[in-house]
Amino acid sequence: MQTGIKPLPNQLGVGGWFWAGNYKMERYFYILHRVTGIGLLLFAFFHLFETTVFRTQGQSVWEMTMRFLDNPLFEAGLILVSLAFAIHSLNGLRLIIQELGFLIGKPQRPVYPFSDAMRRKRGVTMIFMVLIFLLMAVFIVNLLIGGAG
């Protein structure tokens, strides 16, 4: 029988998400992924509450809720959520592709100077970065045209 799992040694806790030494770009993507994930989950609970509890109360309550949410603060929040969705979904797709072993290439004999898998995938990472910024631009243009919707 297993007798309890001890905490991992050298754990840095939440502080370690942001700084633990010589971070590479992918490490910052990891932090962004985690922060956007928590933000999206909080928003999802808020959105679920709004679209279930208030929706079942009838037209007047629904319209009152929509009027309450129709202000610059919530519109800015919605844009942040859209950006978080763009970052989290495209970075998540990159992680899935890498985890399943696509675009990594075949194993090679290590030759100095060593090039690890993360560096070899830099091209894929850059492509996803461009896609993230394009998707962000779409949401921002949509906002500039006429509100967050």
């Binding site: 007798t3 939440v14 994930g37 928590i38 279930t52 079942t56 919605l78 797709l93 006429g146």
Partner: protein, 117 residues
């Protein structure tokens, strides 16, 4: 094996969210840019119109399932990274399972009731 399947479902649910949330965002939140978007997606008539269509009910429930599973499984992973005792793992697992099922039942009941009630 169960952990592997749960993790695989986590990955698949991420793809599911990208598809169904993509549809939701395109129709309801990019309405200023795209001709596919509705003029006022948050109005009562527009919302009731969508609620009456079975395709939207299916999209909402699938999105709910994928979103809940992906979100709660991800949050569970973050929590278990910080505290890793056997008891904590068991308690966290049960809390997440019970909360997930309860939220899923409530949040899927609403669109079903609106569509067929």
């Amino acid at each position: 094996m169960l952990k592997t399947r749960m993790h695989l479902l986590f990955l698949l649910s991420g793809i599911g969210i990208a598809i169904f949330l993509g549809i939701h965002m395109t129709v309801q939140h990019l309405n200023n840019l795209l001709i596919t978007g509705e003029a006022d997606p948050t109005s009562w008539s527009s919302m009731i119109g969508r609620a009456a269509r079975e395709s939207w009910v299916v999209i909402y429930i699938l999105l709910l399932f994928f979103g809940l599973y992906h979100g709660l499984y991800g949050l569970r992973g973050i929590i278990l990274e910080v505290t890793r005792t056997e008891r904590t793992i068991r308690v966290v697992n049960w809390i997440f399972v019970i909360c997930g099922i309860a939220i899923f039942i409530w949040a899927s009941y609403v669109p079903i009731a609106l569509a067929y009630g």
